[in-house]
Symmetry: C2
Subunit: 346 residues, 2 copies
């Protein structure tokens, strides 16, 4: 089938190792020899066998990306960014889905699979702070998200507290004072969850503006979904609370809130302004288009891949675990009266 180094060596009239040296940019090869080898490679359409290389050098050029579900926009876009970043480093990405299930997440960490991946990027949702010690695995691992802090591994996350604060400040800046919050959290409330961190930013921003937090306006739902957002909004209205803005802790919730507002006959942003979190593509196309926190997904992906690559190439001495945070920004669109109309071109 495919040509091997042996074939190339024969065709170029050199030893097999010289072919290897050319491929790996070993400096002590005469230009003339290099040319001959490259010509032979070209002519035979030779491609290195990654299994053999992996066996010999212990590296396969493949990393794993474990996310809850690809059909959730946020993770599809994260995967997109990771794949692009990895490609630049010449790495392939095997995508695994955990369904946000703790068991599946742990399985990723002890997988047979492991042996053919140089390292893993894990975005845990089911695991919690208590599982931190389980992250001490014998292969390169980088964590994404905010479920677990201070673990024994590198970790890329976002400025949850300050970006949530900035979102609230944005609402304050357009004159809103009664700002409801809609977020989600499962049963195991933790200090380090998206919910807790972003709520902290919300409270801090209100405090700094001298506005007391009305606990009736703080709504926790079960799921990070549109349905959850719509339901929470209907509750707020049914209970007769007064509010002129909603900060939803992710875009799915925010889109649900938009729908709920429409069903309830409230105008956006005139009656109620809405801010989401994640900057999912979809928000650009919503009616009205959605103001949101861009948590720096591109940067998160690039950083995570860079950290993983570093760990993979690390010799002996293990550097201590690092935590990186991406820069965030507020994307102002129609749902807060912002300039950005829905995108016209895709």
């Amino acid at each position: 089938m495919g040509a091997t180094m042996q074939d190339v060596a024969l065709a170029a009239g050199v030893s097999i190792k010289t072919v290897s040296n050319v491929i790996n940019d070993y400096p002590y090869v005469r230009p003339a020899t290099r040319e001959r080898v490259l010509a032979a490679i070209d002519q035979l359409a030779y491609r290195p066998n990654l299994s053999a290389r992996g066996l010999r050098s212990g590296k396969t050029g493949i990393i794993g990306l474990a996310v809850p579900e690809l059909r959730e926009n946020y993770f599809a876009e994260l995967a997109d960014a990771v794949i692009r970043a990895a490609e630049k480093s010449g790495l392939g990405v095997v995508v695994e889905q955990t369904n946000g299930d703790r068991e599946s997440e742990l399985r990723v960490l002890s997988r047979a699979r492991t042996h053919y991946m140089d390292g893993i990027l894990l975005s845990p949702v089911g695991m919690g702070q208590a599982d931190a010690s389980l992250l001490d695995v014998p292969f390169p691992l980088v964590l994404l998200g905010e479920r677990i802090f201070g673990g024994p591994v590198d970790h890329v996350t976002m400025h949850n507290v300050s970006s949530a604060g900035a979102a609230v400040e944005h609402l304050l800046s357009i004159g809103r004072r009664r700002i409801a919050l809609v977020g989600a959290e499962g049963d195991d409330v933790s200090d380090a969850s998206s919910w807790s961190l972003r709520v902290r930013g919300y409270r801090r921003a209100l405090e700094q503006a001298g506005i007391p937090v009305d606990e009736h306006l703080v709504r926790r739902t079960e799921h990070w979904s549109r349905a959850g957002g719509a339901a929470a909004l209907h509750e707020l209205i049914d209970e007769g609370h007064d509010f002129d803005a909603v900060f939803a802790l992710n875009d799915a919730l925010a889109l649900g809130v938009l729908r709920g507002l429409q069903e309830a006959g409230r105008r956006v942003p005139d009656d109620v302004a809405v801010v989401g979190f994640d900057n999912v593509d979809e928000g650009q196309f919503a009616v009205p288009s959605l103001t949101t926190v861009d948590p720096g997904r591109e940067e998160i992906a690039r950083t995570a891949v860079a950290l993983l690559v570093e760990r993979i190439n690390e010799k002996g001495t293990k550097a201590p675990a690092r935590t990186m945070k991406a820069e965030f920004s507020i994307v102002s669109r129609e749902s807060t009266g912002g300039a950005d109309a829905p995108r016209v071109a895709q």
Copy 2:
């Protein structure tokens, strides 16, 4: 680092090959011996090295999935389905993005990557019928979609013509008679594109109902996007055409049409009914929820993986190329007055 077969063999007091035999379910191993080996495997947490296995047996247990873009919902959901199907066969999936670019698609077919993948699922968008001969590659390949027919490889597609016909019949059944069509196609119009096939179904259904096709109502846009759908709809209205339904050739266009209708002050489905194509998750959550053609994505994914696995395990004799089509169905929701309200639970 990891234990090897050698270690297991030593621990169990057998030869290394016996360990291999146990792992590969070779029948002639005494139960007692098998037990001992399994115990040793368990105790040493042994995991086979896939690189070595790949080198020796020529198989890696990894397949490639090449799609245009993961951030397009349709492909994210397709990838989700493919990954789940592959997992059941014990295969990992490396996801590559082609950006719908012909060059990138061709690169996938001649990739260095190739060597560590047992086979590839390719969903071409940039390549066309003229490139059919380039699909004759020396590794297992299964095609997804409808860009290329009659190529030298297995092909999984959908009932484009009849399902589009069924969508139109659905609109006819609720009393609509002036049914606009919105679809997209790039510059290279082909007989086998989604556009051509689905338009054929549209025409056929109208003909069979004895309704002449009003060519003014057939709209072709550049991109399969929300923006394209909204723009096409505004054109229809601005030009003063009369219509009581829109069949959009994918859900993104349909969602854009919904938005356009709302902007234009037309009620859905009262004034205009809308049907999409793809059954993307998002359609369930739209306001109103979107009636659509479910092209059988799950089945497509399962079938494609099954075909690829067959090809991978094929010895010598190459079976002729096969084409499979998945079962479709019409999902009736609010945009045609259907029963299905937006989903409440995610």
